[in-house]
Structure formats: structure tokens, C-alpha cells
Symmetry: C2
Subunit: 113 residues, 2 copies
DNA sequence: AGTGTATGTATTGGCAGCCAACACATTCAG
DNA sequence: CTGAATGTGTTGGCTGCCAATACATACACT
């Protein structure tokens, strides 16, 4: 997987992993990595600015938590974030349909292998 | 469809539309637009530099043709271009699988709606 | 004769957005 | 006491597409 393949789809990824519950930044990275089967390895320079932006947009809310001496900033989906996530999923489907139909003109979706 | 959604996938699109035969730049734009159902509208500032790059890489070959008084530059896939196209298709499948598995963790491919 | 639209190729400046590199702190294993 | 894992964060830079621009021919309409 080339390095900046997530370009333009990062917001959806972040919102998606937060759908099932609050996570802190480091856990988001590992969650994305695990759910993609190791294909997607986000960097801190990628997600922290993005998380801040999403919070500023009102799609996430954050709160500091202490696990022992550690401080963690936990991010949580807002209602607006949930709505945006639905939009991102729809946009993803349109996007893959558009590119896919050019890349594989004869292919029909839903056909196994 | 957001403006620069094709970022990172342009080469595959260009190679794919040239698979079925030579086309000139303007025809490539309309072919991509048609095959994507109108979703993808490439600009000249996007494809001409890309076509030059692909030719420089040996994936395309070009030749000037005259239709009446009009001059057209026709691009054709080389064998290397065909091989690269196969690689781009494989990369696309990996890419959609990776993003898709994060975006829709429960979804299983091949399942209609 | 003039205007608009379609066809056709090509270059340039700008910028969004991600990454690499860096900086710093705590915890625990060896 | 050193290294790896855990944890948050910033900054500079580059890739790669787009918008704007330029120019040319052909044809329909008025």
C-alpha cells in the first residue's frame, strides 16, 4: 500500500473507528491498522491535526483521561459526526463505483471473483 | 464527486480507457466521463501532463494524426502499459479492500445491498 | 458578418493534504 | 540503565491535481 493512499478518505476512517466507542489517538492508529489487516499505517502527523480539525468542525468531542499516571485524550463521535460518517460512506460507494466502472468496464458489482 | 478525488488513481484510469484502442486526449476525457456515468470530469490540466509522464515512462506511445485540418495526438498502450494496468487493477482492489474494511467492518464483499 | 459552442492541445501557478522527522514524557522488561 | 512500547503533539516539505489561461479550427445560427 503506497504511503499516502488514504488521501481524501482520512476523515471517514477516523469517524468509522470511533463509531463503536471512544478511543484515544494511539488506539485509533492501532485500530485502523488492525481493521485494515495491516495495510493502513497512519502516522501521528496525519491523525492529530485531522482529529483537531474534526473536533473544530463539531464532528468529534474530546476529553482528557488519566490511566494511572498516563494522560490520554479520548475522542468521541458527536451526532453531527455520525451523520457525516453516513455521508462519507455514501461518498465512498459513489467513488468506488465511479473509478471501478472506468477501471473494469465489464465488471458487474456483487459478482464473486 | 469532490474535485480531486482521482488523486493517486489517475494513471489507472488513463491506461484503462486506452485498453480497448488508441484515443486522443479530448476523447479520453469524454470516455472517462461516459464510463463513470458522468461522475468523473477530468481537466486538460490534469490529463495532458499525465499522458506525457506515462509516455516518458514507456507505458504509452503517441502519434500525431490529421482529421481534415485538425491535428490530433493519439495515445496507445504499450506492452509495459498493459502490464502496469494489471498492477493498477490489483492495487485498486487492495486499496478498496483496506479502506472498505475500516469503513464497513461488518460488511462482506459480494453481498448484494 | 458576427457570435456562440464544440472540438482540440498545452502550460502555469497555487494549494490541499498527507508524510517524515522531530521533540518530549511515562512505564516496564531485561 | 537501556531499549521498546505507549502516548501526545508540531513543523517543513513535497506530491499531484485543479483552475485559469492561451490559442486554433469548424460549424450552426442569426
Amino acid at each position: 500500500m503506497k504511503a499516502d493512499a488514504v488521501r481524501g478518505h482520512l476523515d471517514g476512517l477516523l469517524l468509522a473507528v470511533l463509531e463503536q466507542g471512544p478511543l484515544h489517538g494511539y488506539a485509533i492508529i492501532t485500530a485502523v491498522q488492525r481493521r485494515s489487516g495491516g495495510a493502513l499505517e497512519l502516522r501521528t502527523g496525519t491523525i492529530y491535526p485531522a482529529l483537531n480539525r474534526l473536533e473544530r468542525l463539531g464532528l468529534l468531542s474530546s476529553s482528557w483521561q488519566s490511566a494511572g499516571e498516563r494522560r490520554r485524550r479520548c475522542y468521541e463521535l458527536t451526532d453531527a459526526g455520525r451523520a457525516t460518517l453516513a455521508g462519507e460512506r455514501a461518498a465512498w460507494d459513489e467513488f468506488t463505483a465511479a473509478i471501478g466502472s472506468v477501471l473494469n468496464p465489464g465488471a458487474r458489482p456483487g459478482l464473486a471473483t
